[in-house]
Amino acid sequence: MRPVSQSAPAGRAGPGFPKVGWIGLSLLGTFVLLGAAGPVLARFPPRALSGGSVEPPSFEHLVGTNQLGQDLASQLLFGARSSLLVASITAVGTLLLGALVGVPAGWLGGKTDFVLMRAVDVVLAVPRLPLLIILGAYLGRDLVTIALVMSVVFWPPTARILRTEVRSLRQRLHLKAAQSFGGGAGHALRRHVLPELRLVIVATLVIAASRVVLFEAGLAFLGLGDPSRTSWGSTMRDAQMSRGLFYTRIWTWWMLPPAVAVTLVLLGFTFVGMALEDGVNPRLARHRPRRSPARLAVSTTAAQ
């Protein structure tokens, strides 16, 4: 009978960053690099008519052109930019909102914790995409607005995780405070709480960002994205405007690359998340939160 193993099959317990994490990081790194360097790398502006209609990939146009003659490689690069922009803003927003709710809940406990966690449950219970859609309809479709709306929709899991972590930290700090000589709360906070939280913060950012990329492309695919921006989703949407295209080879260079791009980015996030969970989960399990470890794994991964 084998001993209990961890959740991630390809990771290792203990110190050192698992292999799968490196793969994830390189995928994400490429994504960030391409997105940031987009305008420099792109041969043509993404909306300019730089080629003939539906040209297959060539030296001029590495991924071919679409119906209008716009360069699809440039659209991929600028699409990465949109995703990157939204992911960054939302990640920060999610963290802030999550911390605003989760940290006081974990630190203060008691009634505050109860009320705040109920609030989290309420928001968590509402289906996310419909909520995104309705808020977007009321508040506008500008990219920054979309990012802020996503923060409002995606903060609960962050709040939950931060709360749990802060709670367990608080318990440990009480022990440590009893053992130390002087120091005080501020010192304890700086030297112990924050370093511990760092890992959790990164983990939650990773989770949030992966959902954001998926939904940003998805909204653009539905036609609900920012019309003035190129997005992977909008490229896919243009490609599927005429189903007749599916009967030809054109979809292979118009529809496929953005889909693959989104998938690779999500895989990157998944791998990094898996590697981090190794670091995050065992520690959480060790401090016996109210819910069982399996359930917590559920909340973390299910947030994806």
Binding site: R47, A48, L49, S53, V54, Q67, L68, G69, Q70, G140, P227, S228, M241, S242, R243, G244, L245, F246, Y247, T248, I250
Partner: protein, 673 residues
């Protein structure tokens, strides 16, 4: 053994011959068609005009055809000059099927087409877009109708006379019944037109007839004759037949009399008409599915033109017309032009039989010249016309299936298209020179143009209902806003941005949040450059007047030249272009004259001159006119034709009920007059 081989061989031979037979039929049709065309040209050479099938066979100048063709029918179109080329597109006759759908069947059990959604309900007052109008026309009839000749012919009315320019008298067919078996009388006709007058509840209808309403003085039923109705005009307009006689369907007085809110009347009685079809699905007519449009119509067996050829029409959901036809989900479908991909790319699908005809809808760049400099200067507008490559747009956006818009505003296929108009073929240098001459130059070498400080450029922004006008001058780059409909073609706006970029002019594309918002912006003129789509520019040339100079804002919320120019009939005008005021003044005068000019050739001269003025002054740039396309199932219903000039409230459409009723391209069913 030998018997088996012989059997197999003979089977093979039989199949081969049958195949040849099918091919043979096709070859025979083409030969027959050519024969008829040749005969027509010969007739024209002898008689100075084209003739009907009867005339080709029976004289007057001898038998040109030995016998009436069983496959091809021919109809002369008035005013067609002999070209001797046998080329229908240039000459004055058209050919069609002599037999319904060119087969020997007397009826077609079912025709399945794509449902249109979000076009309201097909009652006379609740449809909101042309597909809704066409569905309504299945159940309701106007006095006259139009077939592939584009000419009006008797429909509900048996005959009509025009005793003096201001009077039209119609005699209805006798024995016509409403779907609830009540008889049709002239009272219904008079009621209909009085009910839709301004100030009456029925004025909520979106019919085109309202454009000509100001000219209608009265509509009265003859008390002595239940089938006679008299129209009296206060202006002898040339568009009476199209706008009024064909424009409005006749509604039953006994249903609509006293109804205060016709738009929201959605019960079964709102669908009682005289038309060739009755809606049978959904069973409860008041539950018409506006979100899907899925419905079915069965032929009216007591129709006054006989039971329609197509016995049942079914409208089903089909997201993509082309693949739906290919998969057999529908019998025929028309892809919208922005779904089109070039035929070479769609090799497997393009083997579907199709009909392609010149269209009547165009996308247009509109200038609101009242906003000021530079929009009120013809050189700026001409510069844009020179740099926007309309032919390139046709290639990229329409995949070659269409034509660049005419600079004279009429459809390129319009019979009254003026020859020799300035084309504004792409000339980037000329565009640059024009902009330079206005002082809009690149002063700081950043590659983009700025406006002169002496005459700053206006930039219009703001909400649809509240415009904000700012000024742009050196050293700021001039970035005019181009307002568009959100569901309009981003492909078009992307392309235009690129063309403007080619001459160093930046621009910002600003889509509104919703189509109503966009319409509101256009109506209130809170834009300087707007991209709109409108149809139908294949209609009577009076459309130039209603589009560009009529002070009454048309249904489609366009800007009239008169309003835009601020022209109020005096000599002053808000622009600095010399000669501008004269042009507008001349156009407006011509527009009003052609509306009532009885002499056809004099009228045509005026219409030609109006197009010339539009082309010279560029109040709008007509970008492209997509061709109309319909794909149909191999071996299925094939009598499709695009109605020249369009049906009222819709651009030229293939879904003309005449083709379902008769199965042919023109003429009434056999035995009818």
């Amino acid at each position: 053994m030998v018997v088996v081989i012989l059997g197999v061989l003979s089977a093979v031979v039989v199949f081969a011959v049958r195949g040849a037979g099918d091919k043979g039929e096709l070859v025979a049709q083409n030969t027959d068609l050519q024969t008829v065309r040749t005969a027509e040209e010969a007739f024209c050479a002898q008689n100075g005009r084209y003739g009907t099938m009867d005339e080709l066979v029976n004289g007057p100048t001898g038998k040109l055809l030995s016998e009436k063709s069983t496959m091809t029918d021919v109809a002369p179109v008035p005013g067609g000059a002999c070209t001797g080329a046998g080329d229908e597109s240039k000459s004055g006759f058209i050919t069609g099927f002599a037999r319904p759908n060119n087969s020997n069947a007397t009826s077609l059990a079912k025709l399945r087409l794509a449902a249109s959604k979000d076009m309201g309900r097909p009652t006379p007052f609740a449809w909101t877009r042309p597909p809704g109008y066409l569905l309504n026309s299945l159940m309701f009839d106007p006095l006259v109708w139009r077939d592939a000749t584009g000419q009006p012919f008797p429909w509900l009315a048996q005959s009509w006379t025009n005793p003096d320019p201001l009077t039209w008298e119609f005699t209805l067919r006798s024995g016509v019944k409403w779907h609830d078996d009540q008889p049709l009388t002239a009272e219904d006709v008079a009621f209909t037109f009085n009910y839709i007058k301004p100030g009456q509840p029925g004025n909520a209808t979106l019919c085109f007839c309202k454009i000509s309403f100001p000219a209608l003085a009265s509509v009265t039923a003859d008390p002595a004759d239940p089938l006679r109705v008299v129209f009296k005009l206060n202006k002898a307009i040339n568009t009476f037949m199209q706008d009024i006689a064909q424009g409005m369907v006749i509604i039953p007085k006994h249903v609509w009399n006293g109804v205060a809110d016709p738009v929201n009347k959605t019960d079964a009685s709102a669908y009682i008409g005289t038309g060739p079809y009755k809606m049978t699905t959904p069973a409860d007519l008041s539950a018409y599915p506006v979100t899907t449009g899925v419905s079915a119509y069965d032929a009216n067996t007591s129709y006054f033109l006989g039971t329609p050829y197509v016995r049942r029409l079914e409208y089903v959901a089909a997201a993509d017309a082309l693949t739906a036809v290919k998969n057999g989900a529908i019998d025929a479908g028309a892809p919208s032009f922005d779904e089109s991909v070039s035929d070479t790319a769609l090799a497997s699908v393009s083997s579907l039989p199709k009909v392609q005809s010149p269209g009547g809808w165009n996308r247009v760049v509109h200038f609101n010249m009242a906003q000021g400099f530079p929009y009120n200067n013809v050189k700026f507008r001409q510069a844009l016309a020179y740099t926007i490559d309309r032919n390139d747009l046709v290639t990229r956006i329409l995949s070659g299936r269409g034509k660049a818009g005419s600079t004279g505003a009429l459809a390129p296929s319009h019979p009254s298209l003026a020859p020799g108009l300035p084309e504004y073929a792409r000339d980037v240098q000329k565009a640059k020179d024009l902009l330079d001459s206005l002082g809009i130059v690149d002063t700081n070498n950043d590659g983009k143009r700025e406006c002169p400080t002496a005459t700053p450029c206006k930039v219009v922004a703001g909400t649809p209902t509240a415009g904000v006008v700012t000024e742009s001058k050196t050293p700021d780059n001039f970035i005019p806003n181009i307002h568009t409909n959100p569901n309009g073609s981003t492909a078009t706006t992307d392309a235009i941005k690129t063309y403007l970029d080619d001459v160093g002019l930046l621009s910002a594309i600003v889509p509104d949040a919703t189509p109503p918002a966009s319409d509101a912006r256009m109506t209130r003129a809170n834009y300087a450059i707007g991209i709109v789509g409108w149809g139908n520019n294949q209609y009577d040339p009076d459309l130039l007047r209603s589009r560009l100079s009529d002070p009454w804002t048309s249904i489609l919320a366009n800007r009239s030249w008169r309003t835009v120019y601020g022209w109020n009939g005096t000599a002053s005008s808000p622009t600095t272009t010399p000669g501008f005021a004269t042009k507008a003044q001349e156009f407006i005068a011509l527009a009003d004259q052609q509306q009532v000019e009885p002499n056809k050739s004099v009228r045509k001269q005026k219409v030609l001159r109006m197009q010339q003025l539009v082309a010279e002054d560029v109040p709008q740039i007509s970008l492209y006119v997509p061709d109309l396309l319909i794909y149909y199932r191999q071996g299925g219903f094939s009598a499709w034709y695009a109605t020249p000039g369009g049906t009222p409230a819709s651009p030229p459409s293939y879904y003309n009920k005449h083709v379902y009723v008769t199965g042919k391209q023109f003429g009434l069913p056999a035995g009818m007059t």
